[in-house]
């Protein structure tokens, strides 16, 4: 990015995840190694080859700012996102009168394909009851842009409302574009983040068919084990994370609390295969290099990388290779917090950037939960299994999606 770019700071964060129903609960859950993983409760998955997932528990929709009619448009993951948006906006105080200029406020979210009650819906489809009101009630929950539309309404944001889908890179990409919108001077405030829940019969079946999920049904709590020599696939999670990105001077002028800064963004395409990373890490390497260049920092200044680290054989091996080509393993530690949250798919990039930022704020390395024996093919320095003190001002978060999109975001401690 050019030298005239504006500083972009984070003034609000909110999350709903299997590790906790707020951002602080999520952070504490990750640090404590909390594992809300077990048999699928959302539907009857008993006969599925993988029948467990990380699930959000004890969730209650916050109806603040939500009309009964608007609530009908929210699906499971957008309900998570709604709570996260209110938490982030409240922390940032942008819901207070006069804090933002509506036309200089935008929304940019990464939203997944999941979370409509597909099982029920497909039943209706099969029964050819498409003209019925019941069908419409379900179908209206399925538009990908509705969440950003409703968040814009919550904030009174009259700028662009953007929704991005690049599979597991969706919210990493949304954060990156939100950052560029503010850094370029297009907007003063952008609510960004992501939401997803693919824990439903059709999409879980899809991942089973691809052989992407861990089948460690006898021990779900240790199934998500990124970079471990006995990893056998990822474990689905669900949730949402929302962040308020704000132009630094704007935040300062209104006395907002600055939680951290985003200073670099890289985004590339592997242009290889839909589900596989390029064997030499092409795309991931360039994404991290682009982010470093954008941040005007050297690789050795990055103390921590929150890796995409899905716990699949291929991802962890190739991402490690890519990291080792860009970073010095004696200076930069790596972990994947998917061992505590599961894979939040389109929401993964947002929550993992937030965790990277909080690790800087608290100067703590998130633990490599579930790591027993590091795969010698993953030649990076992983964080220990317990939280340890950090001394660094920069952290990087990677996201890699089916379809080949790669993103890297760099957070700076303030």
């Amino acid at each position: 990015m050019g030298t005239n770019k504006k500083r972009v700071v984070i003034t609000g964060m909110g999350a709903v995840s299997p590790a906790g129903n707020t951002m602080s609960e999520t952070w504490n859950g990750i640090i404590e190694g909390k594992k809300n993983v077990g048999p699928v409760e959302i539907f009857d998955a008993e006969k599925f080859s993988t029948n467990f997932a990380y699930q959000v528990k004890d969730f209650k929709l916050n109806r603040q700012g939500l009309t009964d009619e608007d609530a009908k448009f929210l699906n499971r993951s957008s309900e998570f996102a709604w709570n996260a948006a209110i938490e982030a906006a409240t922390q940032s105080k942008i819901l207070d009168k006069g804090q933002t200029n509506p036309v200089r406020t935008a929304v940019c979210l990464g939203v997944g394909v999941g979370s409509t009650p597909l099982a029920w819906h497909h039943g209706v489809y099969m029964a050819d009851k498409l003209e019925g009101d019941e069908f419409v009630k379900v179908h209206r929950k399925n538009f990908p842009n509705t969440l950003s539309n409703l968040v814009a309404k919550l904030l009174g944001a009259k700028g662009a409302t953007s929704t991005i889908h690049t599979a597991c890179a969706s919210s990493g990409q949304a954060l990156g574009e939100a950052y560029e919108m503010v850094a370029n001077g297009e907007y003063e405030v952008v609510m960004t983040g992501g939401a997803d829940s693919m824990i439903n019969p059709f999409q879980m079946a899809g991942f089973c068919l691809l052989g992407a999920l861990s089948s460690r049904v006898s021990d779900p709590k240790s199934a998500s084990r990124p970079f471990d020599s006995e990893r056998d696939g990822f474990v689905l999670g669900e949730g949402a994370c929302m962040l308020v990105f704000e132009e630094y001077e704007h935040a300062k002028a209104r006395g907002a609390t600055i939680l951290g800064e985003i200073v670099g963004y890289g985004v590339t395409e592997s242009a290889y295969r839909i589900t596989d990373l390029h064997p030499e890490g092409r795309g991931v390497i360039e994404s991290m290099q682009m982010a470093l260049s954008d941040a005007h920092i050297k690789p050795e200044e990055v103390g921590y990388i929150n890796a995409h680290g899905t716990s699949t054989l291929l991802n962890d091996k190739i991402e490690s290779l890519a990291i080792s080509k860009v970073f010095d393993k004696t200076r930069t530690k790596v972990s994947s917090t998917k061992s505590t949250t599961g894979h939040l798919i389109s929401a993964a990039g947002a929550i993992e950037f937030a965790v990277a930022m909080l690790s800087l704020k608290h100067q703590v390395y998130p633990p490599s939960t579930n790591l027993k024996v590091q795969d010698p093919g993953c030649d990076v320095t992983l964080t220990p299994g317990t939280p340890t003190p950090m001394k660094s001002n920069y952290a990087l978060s990677n996201s890699v999606g089916f379809g080949g999109s790669n993103t890297s975001l760099i957070a700076k401690r303030v």
Binding site: D44, N145, S162, A167, G403
Partner: protein, 397 residues
């Protein structure tokens, strides 16, 4: 508001200008912009979404990788064919580009329940007498489906396979914002071009909402009676003038500005008084450094949704209240509602209008002014039932 694309005004040209150098298009009417623009003088408007479906078209001869046809959905094939048509027309290929400095920005429709067709056998074996899926039974039957069932419905398949075909490894994005999607793609690509991250990008969108679930649902919201949803795709190559001139490409138009805005009123709550759209048009003109009197043509969505059409009409009347109103047209009268492909598709139409120095009567909507082909500035407005808007201003060559 949003992005200013060019530092210079429409009277000047600069190496930093963002220009469009090639277009690709596929609709129910056929492949290519010429095939489609001809219809405005030759054909009558179609009546239903069924007629706007792309049927009987053989995509294989138009795709570099024909195997992809089996790996993706029908709508993805439309997108990939239009994208390759664009690459051909703009003279770029995997052999000529710098992979790391080429971007891909796509406006894509969401997944459809038709994407689940691979599960039909398993689901049929698992539904109870009321048509409701028995999940336990489905767990026993789903393995009969293709291993790639999930991938078939991904909304970013065109981005993925398009990047592979072109070997485009630079910045990219995939927007699912319905009617404003392809303009979002222009904004994203323009930002990457302005930041110097890429030299050129393929931008556009594709659409295929002609499925019974979408039409059934939207009908209940008063949508689509006037202009049925259509299938199709449109892509353009967007690059810096310096890059275009370096490779000797023919420039179709210069993109002066592109921006988006929202009513912030919630889904299906378009404000027919349209203050947000009015402000957006004014702001985009300010970004483009053009006056109302400079605009030769306004292309509107004319989606057929009453409140959205009223919003467009009101905004245009307000902005041009003290200036001579230009001709107001819409391609929906012959191409149907191209949803995610709209916003880019119109550039081919505009190019034809300026070449022939006339705007076809069959495209004109409402009470409008006359077309003055000397005014090379054209505006494309997109309006969605979510009260979301985008506006792009171009200078036609």
């Amino acid at each position: 508001m949003n992005t200013t694309m060019n530092k210079t005004n429409s009277q000047n040209s600069s190496a930093d200008d963002l220009v469009i150098t090639g277009l690709g298009m596929l609709t129910a009417n056929g492949l290519g912009t010429e095939t489609n623009t001809r219809l405005f003088s030759e054909a009558a408007s179609k009546k239903s979404s069924e007629e706007y479906k792309v049927v009987g078209f053989n995509p294989a001869p138009h795709l570099t990788d024909r195997k992809v046809i089996k790996a993706v959905s029908h709508r993805d094939v439309l997108g990939l064919v239009a994208m390759e048509d664009c690459l051909k027309n703009s003279g770029i290929s995997a052999q000529t580009i710098n992979p790391d400095r080429t971007g891909l920005y796509v406006g894509a429709p969401p997944s459809s329940y038709e994407d689940l067709h691979n599960y039909n056998d398993a689901a049929s074996a698992s539904v109870d007498a009321y048509g409701v899926l028995n999940e336990k039974a489905f767990g026993e039957h789903f393995r009969s489906a293709s291993p790639t069932t999930l991938l078939n419905g991904l909304p970013n398949n065109v981005l993925c396979y398009g990047a592979k075909t072109l070997d485009a490894r630079g910045p990219n994005s995939n927007y699912t914002t319905m009617e404003t999607s392809s303009h979002m793609a222009v904004m994203g690509a323009s930002r990457a071009l302005r930041l110097g991250r890429i030299d050129c990008a393929v931008v556009g969108g594709y659409t295929a909402h002609s499925n019974k679930e979408f039409i059934s649902s939207m009908k209940q919201r008063g949508y689509g009676d006037a202009t049925p949803v259509a299938e199709g795709a449109a892509f353009a190559t967007l690059e810096t003038r310096a890059n275009a001139e370096k490779r000797g490409a023919k420039i179709v138009c210069k993109v002066l500005a592109c921006a988006a805005a929202s009513d912030a009123a919630g889904p299906f709550q378009t404000n027919s008084a349209s203050p947000a759209l009015t402000d957006l048009i004014k702001q985009t003109m300010a970004n483009a450094k053009v006056q109302a009197c400079d605009v030769g043509v306004i292309m509107t969505s004319a989606s057929g949704l009453k409140s959205a059409d009223q919003a467009e009409q009101t905004a245009v009347n307000t902005v041009w209240s003290s200036a001579e109103k230009p001709v107001v047209a819409a391609t929906a009268t012959r191409w149907g509602n191209l949803m995610e492909a709209g916003g880019i598709a119109e550039i081919g139409f505009l190019s034809d209008c300026y070449a022939k120095k006339s705007v076809p009567e069959s495209s004109i909507v409402g009470t409008t002014g006359k077309f003055n082909p000397e005014k090379r500035t054209a505006m494309i407005v997109r309006t969605s039932p979510w009260g979301e808007y985008s506006c792009m201003i171009v200078e036609m060559c």
